[in-house]
């Protein structure tokens, strides 16, 4: 039986009808309509589905949508909110440093990087690598991604 629930995403409240077994990644994409969050492995390994829940990086493909009620969810669409059309420093850095090829891992990478910089504004390269180890990229070889995160850290 579908349930009507409320989700708070990027400071907006959405009413959605979901089956209790749906994971948050699918609900964000298909019910809320925010397709920036990607689904790739759907087994909690690749990190493409990473969102922030109450400020913490979470793999939304393993997170029951039912549990997300009452929590503050932030997706890639939400990090440039309130910036009057300007991108978040992480998004800018990813573009400047060409840390995007196919782009599929990118939202997850940026959300995890944002969680890192919120916790640790000046991480070392080793800390960036460690923190991002749950986000896989098949295109770039990671070098530019790490560069971009460090550059964004320098800017803020």
């Amino acid at each position: 039986m579908k349930k009507l629930i409320e989700l708070k995403v990027n400071d907006n409240t959405y009413e959605v009808l979901i089956e209790p077994w749906w994971n948050l990644a699918r609900v964000l994409r298909e019910q809320v309509g925010l397709t920036g969050t990607k689904i790739s492995c759907e087994t909690g390994d690749c990190g493409a589905c990473t969102v922030l829940i109450d400020g913490k990086a979470v793999k939304s493909c393993l997170y029951p949508a039912m549990r997300a009620r009452g929590k503050e969810i932030v997706t890639i669409e939400g990090i440039s909110a309130n910036r009057k059309g300007e991108l978040h420093p992480l998004q800018e850095a990813f573009i400047e440093h060409f840390a995007v090829q196919c782009g599929y891992c990118t939202p997850g990478m940026i959300m995890t990087a944002k969680a890192l910089l919120d916790e640790n504004p000046k991480p070392t390269e080793e800390q960036v690598k460690e923190y991002l180890s749950g986000n896989l990229c098949r295109c770039t070889g990671y070098t530019k991604i790490i560069e971009a995160v460090l550059a964004a850290a320098d800017k803020t």
Binding site: E19, W21, N23, G44, T50, L62, R67, S133
Partner: protein, 286 residues
């Protein structure tokens, strides 16, 4: 993967649900194991009982130098980052930091890690090495038992379908005790272990003689394995290179990995037990 999603707000409510739907229900906490199992159909509960809304089950509480209590809903990330744990029981924080990735650790719980009972479970082996006890609650009340006896096989524990793991109790560390946790895996923490080991040693005041040793081997037996023969090689003896090699070889002999694992052959895993045990002892006694 269809189920009803239940959200008890108290332990009593959770126990009532577990009893009512006995055998057809599963507890979900972090969900990083269960969501996968349900997707792969290795778990098919009709009722999923989300206990994360129950208050007061996530804590790291020190008991006036008389040990430590960890609530079952404490996240792995909290164990990893707790400054108190890093200072007083560093191997717990160390092992927690080797579980998956940050996003997994943010939601995964120590209770879930123990109840899922994989032989590679990070927190299981360090807590066994620390001689921990677990407190369980069920319809007939509470019971406690050594964590060592909690595991009965791959993915199997003594927990009954209508019981809940509440708390892990860790006794006070002996003065002069120090240990290390080593996980050997292809790409680091995000992979399951090929072999992981915990060595905890208490040295005599002369810093050269071993008073006590606990060696726990993971992923080389159906449950976390105490390498008691290897421990006895070390206990009461003066540590030197020859003794370390002997203890490491003994630990390797005690290991009994299953054949056909994609993460490492029988021979390789036994060899890695030898290598890592020696490395761990050297690290601790350096």
């Amino acid at each position: 993967m269809r189920f009803e999603y239940l959200e008890p707000e108290s332990i009593d409510e959770a126990l009532a649900m577990l009893s009512q739907y006995k055998g057809k229900s599963k507890i979900i906490a972090g969900g990083t194991d269960l969501m996968l199992q349900m997707r792969y159909r290795t778990a098919k509960p009709k009722y999923v009982i989300d206990i994360t809304r129950i208050r007061g089950l996530g804590y790291v509480a020190f008991d006036d130098n008389r040990g430590l209590k960890i609530g079952a809903l404490t996240t792995i990330r909290d164990l990893e980052t707790s400054a108190d744990l890093q200072e007083k029981y560093p191997i717990i924080a160390q092992a927690a930091g080797q579980l998956g990735s940050v996003a997994i650790r943010n939601v995964a719980t120590v209770g879930g890690n123990l109840c899922n009972a994989l032989p590679s479970a990070e927190t299981a082996q360090v807590l066994v090495a620390l001689s921990s006890e677990v407190r369980i609650i069920g319809p007939s009340g509470g019971r406690a038992l050594p964590l060592q006896d909690f595991f009965t096989g791959v993915g199997k524990t003594v927990l009954q379908p209508d019981e809940l793991l509440l708390e892990i109790v860790v006794p006070e560390l002996a003065p002069g005790a120090s240990g290390t946790y080593i996980k050997h895996s292809p790409r680091g923490p995000i992979d399951l272990a090929i072999v992981n080991i915990t060595v905890l040693m208490t040295m005599e005041p002369d810093q050269k003689t071993c008073k006590d040793a606990k060696i726990v081997l993971g992923t080389v037996a159906p449950t976390p394995l105490r390498a008691r023969n290897a421990e006895n090689v070390l206990k009461g003896r003066r540590i030197d290179a020859a003794l370390i090699d002997k203890a490491a070889q003994t630990a390797s002999d005690e290991a009994n990995p299953r054949r056909g694992s994609i993460r490492g052959s029988f021979e390789y895993k036994k060899e890695m037990v030898r290598v890592l045990t020696a490395r761990a002892i050297r690290e601790i006694t350096a």
